[in-house]
Symmetry: C2
Subunit: 124 residues, 2 copies
DNA sequence: CAGAATCCGGGCCGATACTG
DNA sequence: CAGTATCGGCCCGGATTCTG
């Protein structure tokens, strides 16, 4: 049996390489609701640093997921928007987010149970 | 406007914390097709080290995504299987993988175009 | 406003060796 | 077979400073 005949796991690796880092997925979700300026994103995505926002946007732009438009204004104005490529990935991403919201209690309970078991083993 | 009224991006963070690392998603996909023993997984998931497989499985188990069963045999026999929690996440994951496969050419083209632009700027 | 440049610490992960 | 333990490199990402 081949390890991955249909390339499923390989494809998963690719997705995670694109948007599996700390911030990219959140940037995508934000842009999914409409174009945003740099500082808007910085304010909306809580905890992101300027550096990381820049790097994330650059990487997304490079892979064709984000369109960057510079308007020759002063002060400078740059807008980020989705590309057609993104629009198809937003849905699976939101499915994942939905799963997370639904499963939050179950995950928390599993974690407590596991940690309790570990604690019981440790003190025995 | 609240940053994330429905908790979408927060939920995304949680998912990525669970399965966003280098190997967990692949482990899940493997287990999605049926229970596996430790060494089976190690062989099937190309490139994974014993240490990383152990850590990934432990983490997945802790969060209630994987069930670990030890059979009192000699030599030892341990089986890993999905939990009901997993079964609902597999589908969105495969949707992501499908997207990756469909979008591979577009992403590659975008990357080439971007890199060419950078190259042109650099040598100008 | 929208970045670029630099420094730096933590942890992710691989390699290797050892065990019941 | 199914792990654990330890060491070490690398890179992700945060803080800070500077710029057009």
């Amino acid at each position: 049996m081949a390890a991955d005949p249909s390339g499923e796991t390989c494809a998963l690796r690719e997705v995670l390489a694109l948007i599996g880092d700390k911030w990219s997925a959140q940037v995508l979700v934000q842009l999914g609701t409409g174009p945003r300026r740099f500082t808007e994103l910085e304010r909306t995505i809580e905890g992101i640093s300027r550096r990381m926002l820049t790097l994330s946007l650059r990487n997304l732009e490079r892979n064709g997921l984000v369109l960057r438009t510079v308007y020759p204004d002063s002060p400078p104005r740059v807008e980020y928007a989705t590309t057609p490529l993104i629009e198809e990935i937003i849905e699976p991403l939101e499915a994942l987010a939905d799963w997370a919201k639904r499963s939050r209690p179950a995950v928390a309970a599993a974690r407590r149970a596991y940690d309790d078991r570990q604690f019981a083993v440790a003190r025995q």
